[in-house]
């Protein structure tokens, strides 16, 4: 041990340690502050999907506009928490991907701002699907442009239907019952219809599709609950499911424990003849490497309930603008240009949405792409582009996306499950969900 160390007393030791720490922090601070102080950079945060496509599209944007973009991403599972922390910490973020389910919360918190004032963005609304524009709108203001979208589809195994002597898929939920019974009686499938009704994030999409196709809504135009009204479809839809499970035995009683992915695998294994699945799953279901019923899966329009329609539910994600970007004129304009580059046209075409579809099969929200030859060929390789186009036009936004959506959704999902397990009648179950909605709206609305 050196003399210097030997003679070091506690006070000296503390002084030297503190000085070293301060110098280190200052040095690092200087370096990093210098690095962060880039001029008119647009900070773009996304989740880790289609990373290469995003990078290539950003590179082209930088080349064309000369605006620098700092692109970073986080895994989907932690994306929301990550971004909220950064909003709270006022981290530099200008453009980000937003789920339609988060819009009310983020808008109310003032983390994101509307883009209505940017004509270069609003001009794309005319060519976008209505449910996409609706899903990005909160309290009358639009908050971005579409990143990707999809909808709940009614799928069937064509071969199973043919075996049972059925030539056309069902057009109504009554016909679904009839055809299921025929298939069941022919011994083709014990439970011909696959419904995945486990309490998970997919559940609301299934329930909304059922409710909309039965001619119902969960709320009215003012956001008041009407889900408990027997005339508004939700009760009728739930009654149909309860009958399907207990009276006709065409849906498994275990459906309340089946998640979307498990249901997909069961359908892909040939255990069912019909299924409600997100449209993009058709690609998997018609892939011989992943599905035993590949080449047999087709899509029909969502069956109609009594007084219903072929409506289904659609969901989407969009490119949004942060409040800090909106507060600065130059930053806001640069951010709007980047939003347009991704959600609108880049060099005269909907390049990002098209490539997103052709690369990874993610749905687009702009109607003209249905006329694109590459898109048509891609869709027709595993589905019927015309049915997809027709069904997508009938998709509607979830009318329950509010700041209290998460809390209500728990009660709502449990209510459906309670009715399916015969612990409550459909009317009682929906009354409970409606009451919870009213309470939360009163508290937070």
């Amino acid at each position: 041990m050196s003399n210097q160390f030997k003679n070091l007393n506690r006070r000296d030791f503390l002084k030297k340690t503190a000085a070293a720490g301060a110098l280190g922090a200052l040095g690092a601070n200087g370096l990093i502050t210098q690095a962060m102080a880039a001029g008119d950079t647009v900070h773009f945060m996304a989740w880790s999907a289609a990373v290469d496509l995003v990078k290539s599209h950003v590179a082209e944007f930088q080349k064309v506009t000369g605006i620098n973009v700092n692109y970073s991403n986080a895994p989907w599972a932690q994306y929301r928490d990550n971004l909220i922390t950064k909003f709270v910490g006022n981290a530099p973020i200008d453009m980000m991907w937003v789920s339609d389910a988060w819009l009310p919360e983020w808008a109310e918190a003032g983390w994101i701002k509307p883009v209505d004032k940017f004509d270069n963005l609003m001009k794309y609304n005319a060519e976008a699907e209505k449910f996409c524009n609706d899903s990005m709108t909160y309290k009358g203001s639009q908050y971005g442009l579409t990143y990707y979208t999809d909808f709940m589809a009614f799928l069937y195994d064509d071969e199973a239907l043919k075996k049972a002597g059925i030539s056309n898929p069902p057009k109504s939920w009554d016909e679904v019952t009839e055809q299921c019974l025929k298939i069941k009686n022919a011994g083709i499938a014990e439970y011909p219809l696959m419904l995945a009704l486990a309490q998970e994030s997919w559940l609301i999409e299934f329930l909304a599709a059922m409710t909309y196709s039965h001619g119902g809504n969960f709320t009215d135009d003012k956001g008041n609950s009407i889900m408990q009204d027997p005339k508004e479809g939700a009760v009728r839809a739930l009654q149909w499911v309860v009958d399907a499970v207990h009276k006709h035995k065409i849906v498994s009683p275990a459906s309340v424990e089946i998640g979307e992915l498990t249901g997909l695998k069961a359908f892909a294994s040939g255990n069912h003849a019909f299924a409600l699945e997100p449209k993009y799953r058709m690609r998997t279901l018609n892939d011989p490497k992943q599905s035993k019923i590949a080449g047999r899966v087709k899509q029909a329009l969502m069956p109609m309930g009594m007084d219903g329609s072929h409506a289904t539910v659609g969901w989407m994600r969009f490119h949004g603008m942060s409040a800090s970007a909106a507060a600065d004129k130059t930053r806001a304009e640069n951010t709007a240009r980047l939003i347009e580059w991704f959600g609108g046209k880049a060099n005269g075409e909907y390049k990002f949405q098209k490539y997103l579809f052709t690369d990874i099969g993610a749905g687009f929200g702009v109607k003209p792409l249905f006329n694109d030859a590459d898109v048509q060929n891609a869709y027709n390789s595993y589905a019927d582009v015309n049915i997809i186009k027709e069904q997508q036009a009938l998709a509607r936004k979830k009318d329950v996306v509010t700041p209290w959506f998460g809390e209500w959704n728990e009660v709502h999902g449990s209510s459906w499950q309670a009715a399916i397990l015969q612990k409550a009648t459909p009317a009682e179950a929906m009354a409970k969900a409606g009451k919870k909605w009213d309470e939360l709206k009163k508290e937070m609305g």
């Binding site: 041990m1 160390f5 030997k6 070091l8 007393n9 506690r10 030791f13 280190g24 922090a25 690092a28 601070n29 200087g30 370096l31 990093i32 502050t33 690095a35 962060m36 989740w47 880790s48 999907a49 289609a50 990373v51 290469d52 496509l53 990078k55 290539s56 599209h57 590179a59 082209e60 700092n70 970073s72 991403n73 986080a74 895994p75 989907w76 599972a77 932690q78 990550n82 922390t85 950064k86 709270v88 910490g89 006022n90 981290a91 690609r283 998997t284 892939d287 490497k289 992943q290 490539y355 052709t358 690369d359 990874i360 099969g361 993610a362």
Partner: protein, 318 residues
């Protein structure tokens, strides 16, 4: 007849004892095998599936020994070259075809280096801060000593998630966002209390006479610590070093918040980024997992004999 009866009884008793012992040994053997299968099963599957194709990995029943072993996942990690991503060079991720290898595969080794730097720095600073602190708390009687120990321990009661926003604000104001220094600073806050807790317990278990004798012989406090206590503390030091290393190596939440680019991103962040809502390659992620577990496993094997004794040292005071 009596002795005969006695012998017979003894024989029966011996047989019973032997049978019981055999049954006990058999039970221990069977449960050991089950425990081994339970513990090693996931690791065996991780290793096996990292050499499988995507189609094989999802086949039913699973193939524990790959039919068509492939090295393409490891090739992507070790031999990917930097290439500017353009429309022409982008990787098209098709969730249907499977076998997708993300372009960020090349980031795995740099992120591993970042993890290594952070972990080593945290270990060194833990010792630098924790050892003198623990020694002082264990052997120097000063006002507020107990309160200090409890305060340090109390900081570990707060869940990490509750600290994220305050940490973020501090790191942002220090200008350390997207820099590995942000991780070193915050990981220290997480690991130092544990280090102090383990070492205080251990130092307290050593007799005060050792401290006094060293002082009488003319040692300063630092010399006493360095020449008397540290040589006796190897198992505890190894335990806290391993704890600090593994905590830093595996930490995800804070790294996710404070890092943005490969300049600072650590292994868990890069590995988590290999999944998305559209694409996932199980075999590739498992290959990344195999590489990620190598350093901790090597360390654990190297210091295995110290780990248990270090963690339990000072736990029971005689």
């Amino acid at each position: 007849m009596k002795p005969t009866t006695f012998d017979a009884r003894s024989e029966i008793y011996r047989n019973k004892s032997q049978t019981t012992a055999r049954l006990r040994n058999l039970s221990i053997f069977v449960f050991s095998i089950l425990l081994l299968a339970y513990v090693l099963g996931p690791i065996a599957w991780l290793l096996s599936s990292s050499f499988q194709t995507e189609a094989e990995i999802v086949s039913v029943p699973p193939h524990w020994i790959p039919d068509e072993p492939t090295l393409k996942n490891f090739e992507a990690i070790f031999f990917s070259e930097f290439e500017e991503v353009t429309y022409d060079t982008r990787k098209k991720a098709d969730p249907v075809s499977g076998g997708y290898i993300p372009s960020t595969a090349k980031d795995l080794l740099p992120s591993m280096w970042n993890s290594f730097l952070v972990s080593i720095a945290v270990v060194m600073l833990n010792l630098f801060v924790g050892v003198p602190a623990a020694y002082a708390m264990a052997k120097i009687r000063f006002w507020g000593r107990d309160g200090t120990i409890y305060t340090i321990l109390t900081t570990r009661v707060i869940p990490d998630i509750a600290l994220v926003v305050p940490f973020f604000l501090v790191i942002k104001n220090l200008g350390l966002l997207d820099h590995i220094a942000s991780l070193i600073v915050t990981y220290l806050a997480v690991t130092v209390p544990f280090t102090v807790f383990i070492l205080v317990s251990f130092f307290e278990s050593l007799p005060d006479e050792l401290d006094k004798a060293a002082r009488v012989d003319g040692c300063s406090r630092l010399q006493t610590l360095n020449k008397v206590f540290l040589p006796l503390s190897l198992p505890s030091l190894v335990a806290v070093m391993l704890f600090a290393f593994l905590t830093s190596w595996n930490e995800f939440l804070l790294a996710l918040m404070f890092t943005q680019t490969i300049a600072s991103q650590t292994l868990p962040i890069i590995v988590a980024g290999f999944t998305s809502d559209f694409t996932i390659s199980f075999s590739f992620i498992n290959a990344a997992g195999v590489i990620a577990v190598i350093p901790p496993v090597v360390l654990a094997v190297m210091f295995e004999r110290y780990i248990v004794s270090g963690l339990t040292a000072g736990a029971v005071k005689g």
